[in-house]
């Protein structure tokens, strides 16, 4: 990582002002290897101060509600000693040469960008201080920066950042900027509000769906309902005769990982006309090879499969001997359905394709993916696709895949105008990229002291890799890595996988495999504890303590720490009224550690969560409010998927269509108390967008078991289409 000064030309270009100022770029090692001090140097993150003191920080990562456009720029502003009220955050356009990798997923933004962004801020601060010292002809050590000014202790004078910017711009960039210590933080670790809250509450924050440009048309689409199917024939005469309709377009399937499924779209002068006309197009589908997909039958067949020996993936020790010598043995099978991300803003993009240019405005998590996909589709260089990253109204992994952008490009080509395509909620629900349905069969052996001595873990789920290569019909070994390397200390372990061909597009969903792995590990641990007549917390402790592998010492220590913190704060072991129970779960994913204690009351079918205590270790916390919000959201999404959400297929088609039969949690069911407790440590900052979700469902089902003796091994607990 290094910090560079922008050339005067670059400064002009990015600041849009001729007034002098300082502009720094940050280059990540993963960035453009050819970048240097040359005229053409294109740094990948900007900190800009103009002669008025206005400060601009570009956020290269995509904002979708997780708060990254506040957390990272605030870290820059902190090191810069900038006055946050003078800072404007801009969402950067898609340009990985400049901004480094922009694909925003895997809870990686903070992990990779935190230190480089701070160093950029610290460099700029040091340059401003040096500039002031020069003016005063004073020692640098007598000068210090504070809240947009540089002060001179001896002279009792001060100069503003605006006054200093032009002079600072002439100075060399410090080699190794000194970062602040914790006690000097101004914004880091504080509950700083999102930078654009004020815009949200007056309806002025512009999402992808809100993009408006002159001459644009509006479009609606109906996709091929079965994956791999196609349009056999269609009659658009009635639709095309409607006033305001521009064109009815047959979009063929584009065989790329993020390409269109294929379908019929209508381009019109407004969204409603497009929707109305679309309903009038008579379409006959060819249902293709997956017309027999039926999720209930599929899950049943997978269960049958994993309850028998399957394909060995990993083996440690002698499992058979462990079982032969065990005091307690137990087995269980866990099942989860497909999930749809269903962000509140559905898939929308606006694309303008002309002979020599292509411009995109899209809510997206992956501008580079758009450049690649449209580059391939249009036969142009990815760099020639200009992508404006718009704020996403939620994404949860769905907006990583840009099929909706490629479709808008096809429509723009077809009508020779910019086209905004907005999917209906029905299309979003029925033709997405779904979280894998999964089954896991576990067998455990416990000795007379309550140590788990043997663990068999057999998984089957259609893999995300199938979306890229349909011939892949088994989970790949790396997808079982979290099972193989789980920080439990178990001497004898066998991991197997089952055959699971995909019949729909499988995609990343918030927390990905950790959702079902966390459910299986934590549910089965609770079951084994019960079978062994032991307290669950004590049983968890033993499982971690038994891991003596020095390579996993940190994982063990941090897992135990959040486990203890959640147990203490959640009142593990406390007396509860009748029909109530406590459940505990702990899981490590995306380099962060989570534990939860859930307090539930069950009366008949009514499941009421009274309280959730979350213990979080994501290393240093950048923004306590943002991190807390992520956990509150994780609890709500965890509860949605534990209780209700499942995408069901019948005859190859998704049965669900909208929020009435894909019900997500509503306000009355949200746990009234969601406490978030942060572990205090100095580990490096890691992400929190995903790790909060996996622990909720098992903590809930463990709590339900404690309250009622009923064990739920299949999620959701209340499926709509069972």
């Amino acid at each position: 990582m290094s910090v560079f000064k922008l050339s005067r030309r670059d400064f002009l270009r990015v600041s849009g002002t001729a007034a002098g100022g300082v502009a720094l770029g940050v280059m990540l090692p993963a960035g453009n290897a050819t970048a240097g001090h040359s005229e053409h140097f294109e740094p990948n993150a900007f900190v800009l101060i103009d002669s008025e003191g206005n400060t601009t920080i570009h956020c290269g990562r995509c904002e979708m509600g997780q708060g990254i456009s506040t957390a990272l720029p605030a870290a820059v502003a902190d090191e810069l000693e900038a006055d946050w009220s003078r800072v404007t955050v801009l969402q950067a356009d898609g340009d990985s040469d400049k901004y480094g990798p922009q694909a925003t997923g895997g809870s990686r933004s903070i992990n990779t960008m935190y230190v480089p962004m701070r160093e950029a801020g610290a460099s700029a601060r040091m340059m401003l201080v040096t500039a002031a010292a020069k003016i005063w002809q004073a020692e640098v050590d007598d000068c210090y920066a504070e809240n947009h000014f540089v002060y001179n202790r001896k002279l009792k004078a001060r100069l503003s950042y605006g006054e200093l910017a032009a002079i600072a711009a002439e100075l060399p960039v410090p080699e190794k900027p000194a970062l602040k210590t914790k006690d000097q933080y101004r914004y880091i670790g504080k509950p700083l509000p999102r930078h654009d809250l004020g815009k949200v509450v007056v309806g002025e924050r512009t999402y992808g769906i809100d993009t408006r440009i002159p001459g644009m048309k509006f479009a609606a689409i109906k996709h091929v309902p079965v994956y791999g199917g196609s349009v056999k024939s269609f009659d658009a005469s009635e639709a095309e005769a409607m006033k305001g309709v521009e064109k009815v377009v047959n979009i063929p399937r584009f065989q790329a990982p993020y390409g269109s499924l294929g379908g019929i779209a209508v381009v019109a002068n407004n969204t409603w006309t497009a929707q109305q006309a679309l309903a009038k197009v008579k379409i006959e589908w060819d249902r293709g090879p997956h017309g027999g997909y039926n999720t209930n039958a599929y899950k049943a067949a997978m269960v049958e499969q994993v309850e028998k020996p399957a394909k060995p993936v990993f083996k440690r020790g002698d499992l058979k001997a462990a079982f032969d010598a065990a005091k307690v043995t137990h087995s269980a099978t866990y099942v989860q359905g497909h999930l749809s991300h269903s962000p509140m803003e559905p898939m929308v993009s606006l694309v303008s394709v002309t002979e020599d240019a292509c411009e995109v405005w899209a809510s997206t998590q992956d501008p580079e993916g758009i450049q690649r996909t449209l580059g391939a589709y249009l036969g142009r260089a990815p760099k020639d696709i200009l992508v404006h990253v718009m704020i996403s109204g939620g994404a949860f992994g769905r907006k990583f895949k840009c099929d909706y952008v490629q479709e808008a490009a096809a429509l723009s080509q077809a009508v020779g105008a910019p086209v905004q395509l907005a999917w209906s909620r029905e299309e979003d629900t029925k033709t997405g990229y779904y979280h894998s349905t999964s089954v896991q069969h576990l067998e455990g052996a416990v000795d007379s002291e309550g140590n788990v001595t043997g663990w068999l873990h057999r998984s089957a789920f259609p893999t995300i890799a199938s979306t890229f290569d349909p011939s892949i019909e088994w989970p790949r070994e790396q997808e079982l890595g979290a099972v193989i390397n789980h920080p439990y200390g178990i001497r004898n372990l066998e991991v197997e996988s089952g055959h699971a061909p995909a019949h729909t597009r499988i995609g990343w969903y918030r927390a990905v495999r950790a959702l079902f792995e966390g459910f299986a590990f934590n549910s089965f641990t609770d079951e084994l504890a019960y079978q062994s007549g032991m307290d669950s917390l004590e049983f968890f402790r033993k499982l971690y303590h038994n891991n003596k592998d020095p390579d996993q010492a940190e994982q063990v220590e941090r897992s135990l720490a959040v486990l203890e913190l959640a147990a203490e704060k959640g009142g593990w072991g406390k007396e509860l009224p009748q029909n109530q129970g406590l459940g505990i779960a702990v899981h490590y994913s995306f380099e962060s550690y989570l534990a939860m204690v859930v307090q539930v009351e069950v009366i008949g079918d009514d499941i009421k969560v009274h309280r959730v205590d979350c213990a979080v270790d994501c290393g240093e916390v950048l923004n306590t409010d943002g991190a807390t919000a992520q956990m509150e959201g994780a609890v709500v999404m965890g509860m949605s998927l534990a209780l209700y959400t499942e995408i069901s297929f019948r005859d190859g088609e998704v049965v669900n269509s909208n929020f009435h039969d894909y019900p997500v949690l509503r306000t009355s069911e949200v746990p009234p108390i969601i406490n978030v407790h942060f572990a205090e440590n100095d580990y490096k900052a890691t992400g929190l967008g995903e790790p909060g979700v996996p622990t909720f469902a098992p903590a809930l089902t463990n709590a339900i078991f404690a309250a009622t003796g009923k064990r739920y091994r299949s999620l959701p607990i209340k499926p709509v289409y069972s």
């Binding site: 979708m64 509600g65 309806g203 109204g393 509503r666 306000t667 009355s668 949200v670």
Partner: protein
């Protein structure tokens, strides 16, 4: 028949098919994009606006039903973004992605107009039709409760 609507205090002449949902009229014809599309079936509340002060789901309200009436959208809820609910939303740092929040605020505003001192249960009942996929529900409820108190204090 008159074809005028007052939207955020400004008179508009409706020159589209009267069956067009108010949502799309606002968004596509008037570029008032603060009102959001979420489901199109009155299931999520993202599109909530006021007609003569009452919350309606604009995705299922034909524009001709608003003719001759006052429509208020999030852009017109207050003159300078200082409605007690807007202030409470900022104070409680409610939004995550923020997409649902215009609908949440508009729904809450009509709730408080009808019931200035709602109980927690009444708030829940009143807000049950508004989905927030990011899970900001508890903050929404707290913000509504504190705005209600604020509004009472101003009155007395």
């Amino acid at each position: 028949m008159s074809d005028k609507i007052i939207i955020n205090g400004k008179e508009q002449t409706v020159d589209v098919d009267g069956n067009m949902p108010l949502l799309w009229y606002l968004r596509d014809e008037l570029n008032l994009t603060g009102t959001k599309f979420g489901c199109g079936m009155a299931l999520c509340g993202a599109c909530t606006v006021h007609i003569n002060g009452e919350a309606v789901r604009s995705c299922v309200t034909p524009v001709n039903q608003a003719v001759g009436k006052q429509v208020t959208t999030i852009e017109g809820l207050s003159d300078s973004g200082d409605h007690p609910l807007q202030r409470a939303w900022i104070e409680h740092k409610v939004p995550q992605c923020g997409y649902c929040q215009a609908g949440q605020i508009m729904n809450a505003a009509s709730l408080l107009a009808q019931n200035p001192t709602p109980t927690q249960e009444e708030i829940e009942q009143g807000m049950q039709g508004n989905i927030c996929r990011c899970g900001t529900y508890n903050r929404i409820k707290n913000a509504i409760a504190s705005a209600a108190v604020q509004m009472q204090e101003v009155k007395s």
